[in-house]
């Protein structure tokens, strides 16, 4: 689309990221915490694609060609998605393993590391 200020996308990314951070700190349900982590990852993805689209620097960073700098952001997003998928799988597996042992789901109960 034409005429859309970059600040809009970036602002949304920042907003989603902040919401994710706050969610990790506030919520006690581990699944919700995990979802907030995904939110943060998506915010970052959005930012990557935005910058890939709006090539803001006159000369691309790292000495790469303009074509490469266009694709680099998307490559990053691709890989982030792949890793996020793997992470979710494993993380949820861990969660299932832990919470099969206990019946209550509260992150604060996991305080064996208490000094």
């Amino acid at each position: 689309m034409n005429g859309v200020p970059i600040a809009l996308y970036l602002g949304l990314g920042l907003f989603m990221f902040t919401i994710g951070v706050v969610g990790v700190v506030i919520r006690r349900n581990p699944i919700v915490i995990f979802m907030c982590i995904e939110l943060m990852l998506n915010a970052v993805n959005l930012t990557f694609v935005t910058f890939a689209r709006y090539q803001m620097s006159p000369v691309p960073a790292g000495g790469m060609a303009r074509e490469s700098s266009m694709m680099a952001g998307q490559m990053m997003v691709t890989f982030v998605m792949a890793v996020a998928a793997a992470e979710v799988a494993v993380g949820l597996g861990i969660m299932m393993a832990i919470f099969r042992l206990r019946q209550n789901i509260d992150v604060d109960e996991l305080n064996i590391l208490r000094g």
């Binding site: 951070v21 990790v24 700190v25 006690r28 992150v107 604060d108 996991l110 305080n111 064996i112 590391l113 208490r114 000094g115």
Partner: protein
């Protein structure tokens, strides 16, 4: 001063050492092989030979001109550190030869006596080993040409004194007495060492200029010291007092005399040799050697005089409260040593040496005689059980009477001459002064009083032992504390109580020579001693009678010792002009003797008898050394223990260990505080991370705004 012809002095030193080595390594074997008499002869022979060689060397020395009588005999390299050279050297001069003659001569006589006295002793060889070692050490002390060799001898005699006092070491009281002697001596040694260091420090100022580098050798050191100290009386006083501290330790002056009475726990020959004739005179020898220091300091000399006089009086008073014959003689020794220091303090050092010589004669005689009495009375030492022994022990009585008269200052006996010389020097001399207050004169007057007291207590001893009107041991009640021997440890039933000079003794309070054979029954008949014991007695008696007269005829002794290098004072007058010394000293001596005869001619007075409840408080206090020994013990020994304990508790345990524990405590406490942060709650950690991030970003925001505002940006 070449040493030609005097190299034999090393033989004098080597013979006792060889005797020591022989007996130490092979003594018991020789004893088993050829018997005790041969071993005894082997012990006496080196000393006698040394004496003969010393006589020969003295004659040769006397043949030299008076100014040349100062021969240094080189022995070998010892310490050589850059500019410091301390070799093995012997000095052959009148002072050292006099002492060598006394040591070897009287030493030989006492060795002979000891072969008889200790003949029933189990550890015969060990005794003579130590005795020969003692002679060797004493010879090193007097012959060494520098202070370091003197100090080696000093320590050596201290060691031998310890070994010999504690000869019967299985009795704890003897071991304690030996320890006391050694430790109190150590205090004196500390003072002496400090004095040596101070001398070296003083000499360091002229060090490079002194000829050669043998800085501590007497022949180079004494002139150098004199030139330094002549203008520096304060330094001289310091050095002198430190040296006197060492002398006071060895020569049993107040307050370091406390070991000498306890040292009577050793065998009587030891007491005679070490604690009467030789070792305790080392202090006087030291003062004679280092007289230049004392001559440069009237204050120090006054202090020496004062302490000598006080000690003389103090010990004489204590002697009246003693009932043990050896203790009376011990305190008498302390008192006479005080006399010697009066003489040295007054500036007439030769009088001190003269009294050393005569005192060696009669005190050794008295001790050996006491030993004969003890031997005859089955090792009973308490005079209250003697009486009328002159009938049974004629030779002993005769010789001891001579000794008692000599020490009391009977005219024309040796003691008379030497005491007159000392008192004359003290009363006439002007050296010992403090701010014009003539301490010397007061010391001399005190000496006169003590002379009278000496006569009195010696007469008491003579009458109680040999005269009187009854043989008290026949009627005296048996000693109550005998039973305690058997039961104190409870093991004596297992022991062979017929063990003569036995080794299995109990922890009785006063060290007595021998308990197990306290066979003094009421029907005991004393018998005279054998020839090996009375020959020395007779020889010493003869010397006591004639020695003083012979030595001082024409002032021979005085001139013999006089050309000691560089006297500062010039002639010291020995004839006081204010009072007629001869008359007063004769009055003192005779008064003492007559009063003694009056008090004691009937024997033991009731208020000094075995029943101690009848004793006057004064006498009890006298017996107890006026409480001094007890005071020192409480203060030093127990006080030291308490101090150590409290230091341990407060400082070692409290501060040092507390510091270490405190570090641990800090770690623990801080850990406990920091532990609160570890809640185990991951959300809290995430929150903290968030706080950190936000803080970080805010900081940069502020910083960048400030930067922009400063640079006048946008």
């Amino acid at each position: 001063m070449e040493s030609n012809g005097f190299n034999l002095i090393w033989l004098v030193l080597a013979l006792p050492l060889l005797g020591f080595l022989l007996q130490a390594l092979a003594g018991q074997r020789i004893e088993k092989a050829v018997g005790r008499r041969t071993l005894g002869a082997l012990a006496v022979a080196p000393i006698a030979l040394s004496f003969l060689i010393a006589v020969f060397l003295t004659q040769r020395l006397a043949g030299l001109a008076p100014g040349d009588r100062n021969v240094v005999v080189w022995g070998g390299e010892w310490i050589r550190i850059s500019q410091l050279n301390i070799p093995f050297e012997a000095i052959v001069d009148p002072l050292s030869m006099t002492m060598v003659l006394i040591i070897t001569g009287i030493g030989a006589l006492i060795h002979l006596y000891a072969t008889g006295y200790m003949s029933e002793e189990r550890e015969y060889a060990r005794f003579f080993t130590y005795l020969n070692l003692f002679i060797a050490s004493m010879l090193i002390l007097v012959l060494g040409n520098n202070l370091v060799l003197l100090f080696i001898g000093w320590e050596g005699v201290g060691l031998c004194s310890y070994l010999l006092i504690g000869f019967w070491y299985t009795d704890l009281a003897n071991a304690k007495a030996a320890n006391k002697a050694f430790i109190v001596n150590r205090i004196g040694d500390w003072s002496l060492t400090l004095g040596l260091f101070l001398i070296v420090a003083a000499l360091a100022t002229v060090f490079p200029k002194v000829s050669g580098d043998r800085i501590l050798s007497f022949d180079t050191m004494l002139p150098a010291l004199q030139s330094i100290l002549k203008d520096n009386p304060a330094l001289a006083t310091g050095i002198a007092l430190l040296l006197f501290g060492g002398a006071a330790g060895k020569s049993a002056q107040f307050p370091l005399y406390v070991w000498l009475p306890d040292a009577m726990a050793g065998p009587t020959p030891v007491s005679a040799l070490i604690h009467a004739a030789t070792m305790v005179t080392s202090g006087v020898v030291l003062l004679n050697r280092m007289h230049v220091v004392f001559e440069c300091s009237p204050v120090a000399s006054a202090i020496v005089c004062a302490i000598g006089a006080f000690t003389a009086l103090f010990a004489a008073l204590i002697a009246f409260g003693q009932t043990d014959i050896k203790k009376v003689l011990a305190y008498s020794t302390v008192s006479q040593l005080g006399f010697m220091f009066i003489g040295c303090g007054a500036g007439a050092y030769w009088t001190g040496m003269f009294h050393v010589t005569t005192h060696a004669f009669f005190k050794a005689l008295l001790f050996l005689g006491a030993g004969a009495v003890i031997h005859a009375m089955a090792h009973e030492q308490d005079m209250r059980r003697y009486g009328k022994l002159a009938k049974y022990l004629p030779i002993t009585f005769g010789t001891m009477l001579v000794g008692a008269l000599a020490i009391s200052g009977f005219p024309l006996m040796s003691g008379f001459f030497s005491k007159e010389a000392i008192l004359g020097a003290a009363l006439a001399g002007t050296h010992a002064q403090v701010d014009g207050f003539a301490i010397g004169e007061w010391a001399g007057l005190v000496g006169l009083v003590v002379a009278g007291l000496t006569a009195l207590y010696m007469t008491r001893l003579t009458f109680l032992t040999f005269l009187g009107n009854e043989e008290r041991w026949r009627t005296a009640p048996a000693e109550i504390h005998h039973e305690s021997h058997a039961v104190a440890f409870g093991v004596s039933e297992l022991l062979d109580l017929s063990d003569p000079h036995g080794f299995y003794k109990t922890m009785d309070s006063q060290a007595e020579e021998d308990h197990a054979h306290h066979g003094l029954t009421s029907d005991h008949t004393p018998h005279e001693v054998g020839p090996s014991m009375w020959i020395p007695l007779v020889v010493l008696a003869a010397l006591s009678v004639f020695g003083g007269f012979l030595l001082q005829s024409n002032g021979m002794f005085e001139h013999w010792l006089q050309p000691m290098p560089l006297p500062v004072l010039g002639e010291v007058r020995t004839e006081p002009t204010t009072i007629n010394l001869t008359m007063y000293s004769l009055i003192a001596a005779f008064a003492g003797m007559i009063l003694g005869a009056i008090f004691y001619y009937r024997g033991l007075p009731a208020n000094q008898g075995l029943d101690e409840t009848k004793w006057t408080p004064l006498r009890l206090w006298q017996r107890n050394q006026f409480g001094f020994d007890q005071g020192v013990t409480t203060l030093a020994v127990e006080g030291g223990g308490d101090l150590g304990r409290s230091l341990w508790h407060w400082i070692d345990n409290g501060v040092i260990d507390g510091f270490v524990r405190g570090i641990a405590l800090v770690a623990t406490v801080s850990g406990g505080v920091l532990r609160q942060i570890q809640t185990g709650s991951v959300r809290l950690y995430a929150l903290v991370m968030l706080v950190g991030v936000v803080g970080f970003l805010s900081y940069f925001l502020v910083a960048s705004h400030l930067a922009i505002a400063v640079t006048g940006g946008r």
